[in-house]
């Protein structure tokens, strides 16, 4: 396992965000670009980790791929497993991965006029890349969730699976 310097990564990531900032006019476009960058990483991450960490097993179940993201991907990318994995209460096909402090956000501060922009969009892109290429198309976004008693808000990655995923699971009778 290769270790990468955190400060080198933080520097690279801040440059990535600044570069994209000069190319776009609004926040939504910036978020989309960060997500696209993460998507490319996610696609490769899935291929690499399944081969390296999990031997010869393919993930065909929803919970299987979610726990793969939550433990294996997080562990190898960020050095620890994600804080929690929850199932959404309102909709059947929504899941949330929460993290007290995302590694990519540690050295980033958001100015007040950027509103709800979250650089965790990069991580959301990684998760979307993994799920999409494993055959579970979804929409993944990153949100700040303020917590009482803590200065910095918690970050939640919201995963909403596409309709065809629910159909496929119903057809295969597994969940």
């Amino acid at each position: 396992m290769v270790e990468v310097s955190l400060s080198a990564f933080a520097f690279l990531f801040s440059e990535l965000v600044q570069y994209n900032q000069t190319q776009v006019d609004n926040i939504a476009e910036l978020e989309r670009r960060l997500e696209d960058a993460g998507y490319a990483v996610g696609a490769r991450v899935l291929e690499l980790f399944c081969h390296r960490e999990k031997g010869n097993r393919r993930e065909t179940r929803l919970l299987g791929i979610l726990s793969f993201v939550h433990t294996t991907v997080w562990k190898v990318l960020f050095g620890k497993v994600a804080d929690s994995l929850e199932k959404g209460t309102e909709h059947e096909d929504e899941y949330m991965i929460s993290e007290k402090e995302l590694l990519v956000n540690r050295f980033i501060s958001i100015p007040k006029d950027m509103g709800t922009f979250n650089c965790g969009a990069f991580v959301a892109g990684i998760v979307r890349g993994v799920l999409d290429n494993a055959g579970f198309p979804s929409v993944v976004t990153a949100h700040f969730v303020p917590m009482e008693g803590q200065q910095r808000p918690r970050t939640t990655i919201l995963i909403k699976f596409a309709d065809e995923v629910s159909h496929m699971m119903a057809l295969l009778n597994i969940y």
């Binding site: 490319a40 097993r57 290429n133 494993a134």
Partner: protein, 143 residues
């Protein structure tokens, strides 16, 4: 003796096709690879019928033609690796080893940030690695 290896993407688009023999018509080998895609689809979409587990990557012998045997392997991203060989007595463990090394080479080729997923793999390193793996294929090859 291995005659041909192929990498086919999730939408059945060919990503890499290499034949290792001058004797046979390259087009015929392409046709055989193409036909084997149907067998893979059938195996993947009907797990109960074929009886194999849904989450296994090695698909095994797909179908034997008159003088070829075709083996298949499915990665986690629905990318299919196909092997065509003329050997009559190929050991299962040799084929599994071969696919493991093939998969490792494929993963390295895809990790290239300049490689566009869905386009053909044009890396020379990948070609030379595949050539090396094919040469060392045979009874008694190291794991």
């Amino acid at each position: 003796m291995i005659v041909c290896v192929a990498v086919v993407g999730p939408q059945n688009n060919p990503l890499y096709l290499q034949s290792f023999t001058e004797a046979d018509d390259a087009l015929k080998l392409h046709h055989i690879v193409h036909c084997s895609l149907d067998v893979i689809e059938e195996k993947v979409n009907n797990p109960k019928k074929s009886g194999s587990t849904l989450s296994e990557t090695f698909l095994g012998l797909l179908y034997p033609t008159e003088n070829y045997k075709v083996y298949g392997y499915l990665t986690n991203t629905k990318v299919k690796l196909i092997l065509v060989t003329t050997d009559l007595d190929v050991r299962d463990v040799d084929v599994r080893n071969f696919f493991r090394k093939f998969h490792a080479a494929y993963v390295d080729a895809v990790s290239n940030p300049f490689h566009v997923p869905g386009k053909k793999i044009s890396s020379k390193t990948f070609s030379s690695r595949i050539g090396g793996i094919v040469k060392s294929f045979g009874p008694g090859s190291p794991p």
